[in-house]
Symmetry: C2
């Protein structure tokens, strides 16, 4: 061999280089720990949602350092216990911090299978079962949105899905851009609502389209894109003449020539915005897109309801050169087989069971809404349209002072203070944020089917208790 | 609630919406199936590597359809068994088809933990353990390449890592491109060797740079980039004047003005090319990059040896607007916590154990090399530099006919014929491809530490047996 690294390669090859029997025993033991500490405790309301430690304290507790020598079995098992103990229990019925939550045993089994198979569904040869399974799951997802044909691919998340959609739109309109880049293209315009997810901006940056060319369309007070504003914005962008400076980029830039207005390309409508859960009016937006010949992408659809990694669902032609790889629809080469998890879950509960989960989420939101309206000191930010319930808790000390000049300032400090207390106590977790002119409020999104009325009552009681003295 | 979907939301909330006890039992049973069928059989040489079925046959065997009603436990367990049975066993000591192979019990335990935690390491609040762990693993990886500072992020694969590197390079040179897109930039030039991975082309397409602007630099006969050719190519690209047509895109394109030469931006050197396992000469390439002020990205480094999803390792400034998310270094929002798997493995075997695996891979390659040289009918494509061993098997019917005009044509059909036989038999799997002027040859890459000398002898015997009568 040419220029060996000097190691000599003298490792004997008579026996396997790892102890297979010990490995199996280890897996067996880890699994029991996992089932007890990671699954059972994670779904048990009598357990804490999190066991908060400051970063430095946690670093010491975990002994994260990686050393030259390996560790023994007992120590490794203890490490697995520690990882579970100090992690946030996202499957807990009182974890409401993120858009995802809950632990579904069938879906988890699907993930374990996927990890054990450790393959990549890029060819039938390598992953016959998984390739056919993704085909089936994607067809079924298309059916749910009412399409009888089309194609699709699983992408690692909603952000990447949004980027892929932009790329497809660009390729469809300007096939030669794939080889020549953006230079020969007119400046492109992307449109999304003010409430859209920030991955649209990230995507525009990554694709060389530029965040300045994302035009955020005004929304109504419920957070829905206003179609008339979209139309106006499209007109404005078309007419706009660009010069070397923009208010956002005051440094004069080298411009070959003052370019005429941009060419509108792509509209991202959101079905279920991140904070308010608003649904953009698809029909009206679709009419505008059809009229101007724009690509309409919908961010949301099924993603949230079914707890899948977002899937990329839109009809498309293949957009990579056949000489690269015919079957290749993803910007990834190797990728995880995300379809199996959803397939097993779907087989287990059926379309009916999935539908019931969606209904249950609405039921839980409606129940909580009634309680929030009934309880003193709780105030809605707005009536929910979807399963996002946004509200403030007003401590007794602030009640009746709504007209005082410092009221909103003070109220904005309440949610963070309650949040800190709840994390230190470990009793539950929920997200808050300011939004537009609204100061910090809680956003509750119940997607976990394990959540009961009792958990929802607890949720409000706990906020009330933690916020009482503020 | 505004405009409910009509469902009525009448689901009672007194009890959890899923049967937790049954779920735990199901997980327990799936795990035992998994351990037996997915882990034990997967690492047992007396088992088949794959149980090949044609797509239509497999569709019927698996009953993939998703229906309205859910299925019972026994049926679901049988489905899990079927998934494992008809999937390719990538952990099998005779699976050599891909760059990854092998099953490490510690790493798999790490993945199970990660899936159970079901969180996203984007904030410390959400994933305290995983955030600190990734910090530690990335620091340790940087240490291995000799860096005492820097930053990094885990990306879902090598292709995405390559794209991120291009994006960072563009941002560093042209910070305003993030907001304004590529239009105000000079046409950029990217450089990679002819042997580089095709994700460089995909990345150029996605980033709006264009595949025509990827300049593939000539390699020597071992597949290494020739530094002098890189220098020449950089000069050529700088001097080149673009007109409206290029041979690759014969359709005349609207060009605002004939642009001057492109501006070289980025060089991708490959450490371990996909087919030949060649290492580009980094020092010489780095000098050229320094001289021209180009960003040097290295594709490979640690990825292959340690069986991790590729990690993104290069020093960088944050390149997303602080107003979007300060801690945000990834194009993804939610993402999997890929660090835990590697952390547990590293804790289990230590740096020393990881090093030994690399040495073992070299040992195995050297052993196989000796055998290939010794056995009649086997012919090396070239001396290996790394752990990629590329060779032909020449059936007796073709031996001694090397000078006949049809020899290479006929030899090119041998590897596919042997491959088909081996898949139908299920005895092993290995990849083949043509490359440049070389007709189809086998590429053997042994990364699985479970592989013994016996497996390597079997590998050659089997090729010989299957190819004997061709
Ligand atoms: C509307 C919307 N789109 C996209 C995303 C991004 O999804 P991901 O985190 O999977 O990248 C989110 C995440 O919250 C979202 O709310
Ligand atoms: C040199 C090189 N770079 C990048 C990649 C792409 O990696 P991934 O499949 O993780 O996207 C590969 C895959 O084989 C490779 O060999």
């Amino acid at each position: 061999m040419a220029e060996p690294s000097g190691a000599g390669y003298s490792i004997p090859l008579d026996d396997p280089g790892l102890d297979i029997a010990a490995g199996e025993e280890f897996l067996q033991e880890v699994f029991q720990i996992l089932l007890e500490e990671g699954v059972r405790k994670s779904t048990d309301v009598t357990q804490k949602v999190c066991d908060w430690k400051e970063p430095q304290e946690l670093r010491e507790l975990l002994d994260l350092e990686l050393r030259n020598d390996g560790e023994g079995r007992e120590q490794l098992l203890q490490r697995c216990r520690d990882v579970l103990r100090f992690s946030v229990r996202t499957g807990h019925p009182r974890f409401f911090n993120q858009l995802f939550s809950g632990l579904d045993h069938h879906a988890l089994a699907g993930r374990f299978l996927t990890e054990t198979l450790n393959t990549s569904p890029y060819t039938y040869e390598m992953a016959p079962v998984l390739v056919l399974m993704e085909e089936q799951v994607l067809a079924k997802l298309r059916e749910l949105v009412g399409w009888s044909s089309g194609d699709g691919i699983f992408a690692p998340g909603g952000s990447i899905s949004n980027m892929l959609a932009m790329n497809v739109a660009r390729f469809r309109r300007f096939p030669e851009s794939r080889s020549r880049g953006n230079w020969d293209l007119p400046r492109l315009g992307l449109f999304a609502s003010q409430e859209s997810h920030y991955s649209i901006l990230k995507g525009a940056a990554l694709l060389g389209i530029g965040t300045d060319n994302v035009h955020l369309v005004r929304t109504d007070k419920r957070g829905k894109m206003i179609p008339e504003e979209l139309e106006k914005e499209i007109q404005r962008v078309k007419a706009e003449v660009r010069t070397g400076c923009t208010p956002m980029s005051p440094k004069p830039l080298k411009l070959p020539n003052a370019s005429p207005g941009s060419e509108p390309l792509f509209v991202c409508a959101t079905s279920g915005t991140t904070v308010l859960g608003a649904f953009d009016p698809l029909d009206a937006i679709a009419d505008i897109c059809a009229h101007h010949g724009l690509w309409l992408h919908v961010d949301g659809l099924l993603q949230r309801c079914h707890g899948v990694g977002a899937s990329y669902l839109f009809q498309r032609d293949k957009f990579y050169d056949v000489s690269l790889d015919t079957g290749d629809k993803s910007p990834q080469c190797g990728r995880r087989a995300d379809g199996l998890k959803l397939w097993i879950l779907w087989k287990a509960v059926g379309s009916q069971g999935l539908g019931q989960r969606v209904e249950r989420a609405f039921s839980a939101t409606r129940y909580l809404l009634e309680q929030v309206k009934r309880r003193e000191g709780f105030q809605l930010v707005m009536e929910p349209e979807f399963i996002n319930l946004c509200f403030w808790f007003i401590p007794p000390s602030l009640r009746g002072q709504e007209s005082s000049p410092e009221f909103w300032d003070k109220l904005g400090k309440v949610a963070p203070a309650i949040k800190e207390k709840m994390i230190r106590r470990g009793s539950m977790m929920v997200g808050y944020q300011p939004h537009g002119s609204h100061v910090n409020f809680f956003r509750q999104i119940i997607t976990n089917p394990a959540v009961t009325r009792h958990d929802l009552d607890f949720f409000l009681d706990e906020i009330q208790e933690l916020g009482w003295d503020l």
